[in-house]
Amino acid sequence: MGNKQTIFTDEQLDAYQVRLHGRYHELAPHLVPMDYTTEPDCKIPLALIVNMPELKENPFRNRIVESFSEDGMGNLSFNEFVDMFSVLSETAPRELKAIYAFKIYDFNVDNFLCKEDLEKTLNRLTKEELTPEEVDLVCEKTIEEADLDGDSKLSFADFENMITRAPDFLSTFHIRI
């Protein structure tokens, strides 16, 4: 990633911002003024953001928005909004993505992926098609595979260790806007 040319020119940067802000504005025209140069202090609630076409089908949409919002409730300011798409962009580094992925999957925000989190993740992934025994098995296996320190939950270190070796993490944890 390091040797990729990722410099913005000012014009490009602005173009991106204008575009992004356009998207941001669209979400809640009544809340967000069109002119973002005056730095309005406004936030868009979660319910509006998860309706973006990019997020609409994502089983983790609520979690994504929540983990990027500073208040944890899913209200996003424009900067956080930009942040979200920057982390999910193609060029964001793996470590950064890993951090946010961890936050997304950490449903109960206790900084560990415990079995409960995994069950939730799994049920969202499969639309609860698996039987409880299967869910149980899968969660146990997951923990068994990735848990290096033996506390039967996944810390960020465990998670990172696992995710950095995943072949398609980068290509799937990625949203194009």
Partner: protein, 937 residues
């Protein structure tokens, strides 16, 4: 340049101002560091100092300037000698930044808006200090003057750009430019370095785990810095070009992506197959992938046959009805157009390009002197050659991909759990498919896992497996005998005329029936064995393969019997016709006195002709193929579709639950379909030589069955009860195909090499053996020395050593590959061991860590360093935010922390051995453990 001098003078004053302000900030160290050559750095300072008047602006700039500095320091991991103190500052800075950030971000974002405003505000201050007119104007002028200096061109270029862009940079730029004169060498170098660093920062800004606001601030700042000084160093000329390049790279990436999409879209049926895969699992999809592959191969074969054999004959050969072999005999002409006859591939079908007999034995045809007989033989051989190559190549490639039977190593479930959802999906339908496919893949892995955990009575299982194999062998033998019996009977029937429909089609019926009955039987028996479904599928494939093989070979033997009787018949007819010819010529020459051959004035339809066994064989294969198609399609229609309809709609008025109970919906029969495909292909290979049209029929068949079966699967079937993962490569299928290819090669080669071709039909008529065509070509068309060359090459004295050499090569390569395989296994084992070890070590980490800590406490100085960092670093997650922001230094910080924690656990691994286990653990006396942090410091 008087003007210039004045400005410089001004600069100095500004400089001083700047210095003061900086020292206020307590960052003198850095400043000292920076400004080695007195006025040199002034410009930058000036730019900054200028702002001093306006507090807000200046603050901002200061902050911008400093924060990255420190960051850079941290980044470079330069043991901050001079900047050591600075680092602490920086931390403060970054904390301060948080609140300020907003402002900073805002200012920076609004390049046009507030940024410009800021400039305007700046300019008065400047005016006061320097007596210049306005930031903008001054900037331009400066740049002009700069343009006169050394590297005019680059500057000009930059100049233009600057004008376009916001003035703040050009403004400061102007200042920096002025100092160029006074810049010393060392200054230049240092500046260059800084610019480089900034550039690096710009390039890597995306990789920094900071919040957007902060990033924007830094980016702006760094960019401005670069803008400012790059020009001063005369390196700015590439700026525009660089931007252009970046833009082009972006465009290029986008193009590549589009192209990739386009290419994926070009893969035929990719979407269909993916859809099937998502609902039925990779095992079912593997069949369709195989089908697609087969279709591709057959297209090539079709191209070869039609391009080189059929089309030339149609376009350039003699037309229908010109010679006997291209004419329906008088006796058959009445019925030649009947539907039933045509469906049996008799009548007009028999005397068409579809079959061997139609082709003429002219050495060359048409204007192009196309050597059709030679082409015919070559295409026949080439078909096999190409197929062999392709199959083997594909197998090799698949083996490369990793023939591993689905075990992906360490993180199967974890990866599935965390990386299987594709965040790009924004379409409801795709999302549904994805849900299905994820569920399916989980189920696949669960099956694998359950299989791993299973342990039962091994003796019972062994017994059952033997029993199952015994039963299956019995039924295989039985069906083989049945086929043999039917073939014999059909030979009897062949001599009789009064045949009922059943008797005529007995052979096909029996074969189809066996094909229908046996596989389910085998499957039922295989239940006894209780294999993993993937392995069970392979057994099933093997067994049905054996069954079909028996069928095939009994069929072939029957065919050869037929061929032999035809050959005898032909011999007599040939003799008779030769005799008749002679008779005719004798009479003719006696009457007309012309010994030159004027053929008898006979309608080609009336000529006596031989049975032409090649065409008969071709017809046999075509019939078999067509009946196979019919049976397959009907089976799907009745066995799957009708069943599904009945189950679905009768369920409302039935006494038990049809859907869950007895008939239920059909499952997709992978083994049957794969083998059907493989054997069908065998038929094609064998038959293609005698019926060039067969390849065309097969292409149509594959094409239609792709759509038909895809539809049938999606519409009427349910996923397997235990969805299992197909082995990654299709190599088992390919292996079967290779076997069939080899088997079908044998009879064809045998006929080409040893049976005499018919005397009055086909491209080889009149020759002793088919391959005489090659000899003829060598003799007549190639220069003489080639003939001798070939005769040498065909010398056994040369061939035997060559074969020997090949055998040796095979042996050698084989042993080499085996050695590689061994070392591979070894490595895998080692990796596994290393992993286990690491895991164990980490498992014990908590307890061992304490031992480590104890040890560290004993060592006076080093004790604190490692354990301290991990503790504070961990918490950041809660709102996630702090980690990243906090570590302005933390860009690296995260990694550092990791390193540290690794480092601290590593030594532990060795430790515990020497230590008695009792001593560690939570129960450790507080003193010993020390948790140590505070005291040593």
């Amino acid at each position: 340049m008087p003007r210039k001098g004045a400005v410089q003078a001004d600069d100095v004053s500004v400089d001083i101002d700047d210095e003061q302000s900086d020292s206020d900030d307590g960052t003198t160290k850095r400043r000292a560091n920076r400004r080695q050559a007195g006025g040199g750095r002034g410009g930058g300072g000036g730019a900054k100092g200028r702002g001093r008047g306006k507090k807000a602006e200046s603050d901002e700039e200061e902050e911008e300037d400093e924060a990255p500095k420190g960051r850079r320091g941290a980044q470079n991991k330069r043991p901050a000698k001079k900047r050591g103190g600075k680092k602490d500052d920086d931390d403060d800075d970054s904390e301060e930044e948080a609140p300020k950030n907003k402002r900073g971000g805002a200012a920076n974002k609004r390049k046009g808006g507030k940024g410009r405003g800021g400039d305007d505000e700046d300019s008065p201050a400047e005016k006061g200090g320097k007596g210049r007119k306005g930031g903008k104007k001054g900037g331009k002028e400066e740049e002009d003057s700069k343009g006169k200096k050394g590297d005019g061109k680059g500057k000009d270029e930059k100049n233009k750009k600057k004008k376009k862009k916001d003035d703040s940079s050009s403004d400061s730029n102007s200042n920096s430019d002025e100092e160029e004169d006074s810049m010393s060498e060392g200054e230049m170098a240092r500046l260059m370095e800084e610019v480089e660093e900034k550039k690096k920062l710009i390039a890597n800004i995306r990789n920094k785990p900071w919040r957007m606001k902060r990033r924007l601030v830094l980016l702006r700042e760094a960019q401005q810095f670069v803008d400012k000084f790059e020009g001063a160093l005369g390196k700015g000329k590439g700026r525009k070009w660089y931007a252009y390049k970046v833009m082009m790279t972006k465009k290029w990436i986008k193009f590549q992506r589009d192209f990739e999409n386009f290419r994926t879209a070009c893969i035929p049926w990719e979407r269909k197959i993916k859809e099937v895969e998502s609902h039925f699992g990779s095992s079912v999809a593997s069949y369709f992938i195989f089908l697609r592959w087969m279709y591709g191969m057959n297209l090539v074969l079709f191209g070869l046959t039609f391009g080189l054999v059929v089309m030339p004959e149609v376009l350039m050969g003699l037309p229908y009805g010109s010679i006997p072999r291209k004419t329906v005999p008088r006796a058959e002409q009445d019925t030649a157009q009947d539907y039933a006859v045509l469906m049996d591939f008799n009548g007009y079908c028999k005397y068409s390009v579809l079959f061997y007999g139609y082709y003429n034995d002219q050495r060359t045809i048409g204007l192009l002197k196309f050597r059709l007989p030679l082409a015919y033989l070559m295409v026949g051989i080439g078909t096999f050659g190409y197929s062999l190559m392709l199959v083997i190549r594909t197998m090799a490639k698949n083996a490369d991909v990793g023939g591993g039977d689905g075990d992906e190593g360490e993180f199967t479930f974890a990866w599935k759990m965390f990386t299987s959802w594709d965040y790009l999906i924004g379409n409801a339908e795709t999302a549904d498919n994805k849900y299905a496919s994820i569920t399916t893949s989980f189920k696949e892995s669960i099956v694998d896992e359950q299989e791993n955990q299973k342990d039962e009575n091994i003796h019972l299982r062994r017994f059952l497996r033997v029993l199952a194999n015994f039963l299956i062998t019995c039924s295989l033998g039985g069906s083989g005998y049945l086929i043999y019996f039917v073939v014999k009977r059909s030979q009897d029937f062949a001599t009789r005329d009064d045949l009922s429909w059943y008797e005529k089609n007995e052979l096909e019926l029996i074969m189809s029936l066996l094909g229908l009955v046996c596989p389910p039987l085998f499957e039922t028996i295989a239940e006894l064995e209780d294999y993993h479904p993937r392995i069970a599928l392979k057994w099933q494939l093997g067994r049905i393969f054996a069954l079909f093989l028996g069928n095939l070979y009994t069929f072939l033997f029957a065919l050869f019997d037929e061929v032999n009787t035809k050959l005898e018949e032909e011999q007599s007819i040939k003799n008779a016709s030769i005799w008749a010819m002679k008779e005719y010529y004798a009479n003719f020459s006696r009457l007309v006195n012309d010994s030159e051959s004027t053929p008898p004035p006979m309608n080609p339809a009336d000529v006596i002709r031989g049975p032409c066994w090649e065409t008969a064989v071709g017809i046999e294969f075509v019939k078999l193929t067509v009946s196979d198609i019919q049976v397959t399609y009907l089976t799907i229609l009745i066995g799957d579709f009708a069943r599904a309809v009945i189950v679905r709609f009768l369920n409302y008025c039935w006494c038990w639950d049809l859907e869950a109970g007895f008939p239920s919906y059909g499952e997709f029969d992978i083994s049957g379909n794969v083998l059907g495909l493989v054997f069908n292909q065998g038929m094609i290979w064998m038959g293609a030589f005698y019926a060039p049209g067969l390849v065309g029929i097969n292409v149509l068949r594959l094409l239609s069955s792709m759509y038909y079966q895809c539809w049938a699967v999606m519409a009427t079937n349910v996923p397997h009860e235990r969805v299992f993962k197909a082995s990654k490569s299709n190599n088992f299928y390919m292996g079967l195909l290779l076997l069939v290819l080899f088997l079908s090669l044998l009879p064809v080669v045998y006929t080409i090499m040893s049976l005499p071709p018919s005397f009055d039909c086909g491209p080889f008529s009149g020759k002793e053996k088919m391959f005489d065509v090659i000899m003829e070509t060598i003799d007549l068309d190639l220069p003489a020395f080639m003939g001798t060359l070939f005769s040498y090459a065909a010398n056994p004295g040369l061939i035997i050593p060559a074969v020997l050499l090949m055998v040796l090569a095979i042996y050698y390569l084989n042993s080499v590959s085996e050695a590689y395989q061994n070392s591979n296994m070894e490595l895998k084992k080692k990796m596994q061991m290393a992993r286990d070890e690491e895991k164990n070590r980490r498992n014990n980490t908590d307890s061992t860590n304490q031992v480590m800590k104890d040890l560290e406490d004993l060592l006076p100085n080093r004790s604190l360093a490692p354990p301290a960092p991990p503790e504070p670093e961990k918490p950041p997650e809660p709102e996630g935010k702090p980690t990243k922001t906090r570590g302005g230094a933390a860009g690296k910080g995260v990694d550092l922390q990791k390193d540290v924690s690794l480092a601290s656990s590593n030594p532990n691994a060795r430790e515990p051995v020497t230590r008695a286990p009792g001593a560690r653990g939570r129960g450790q006396p507080p003193g010993g453990r020390g948790r140590g942090g505070p005291p040593p410091r």
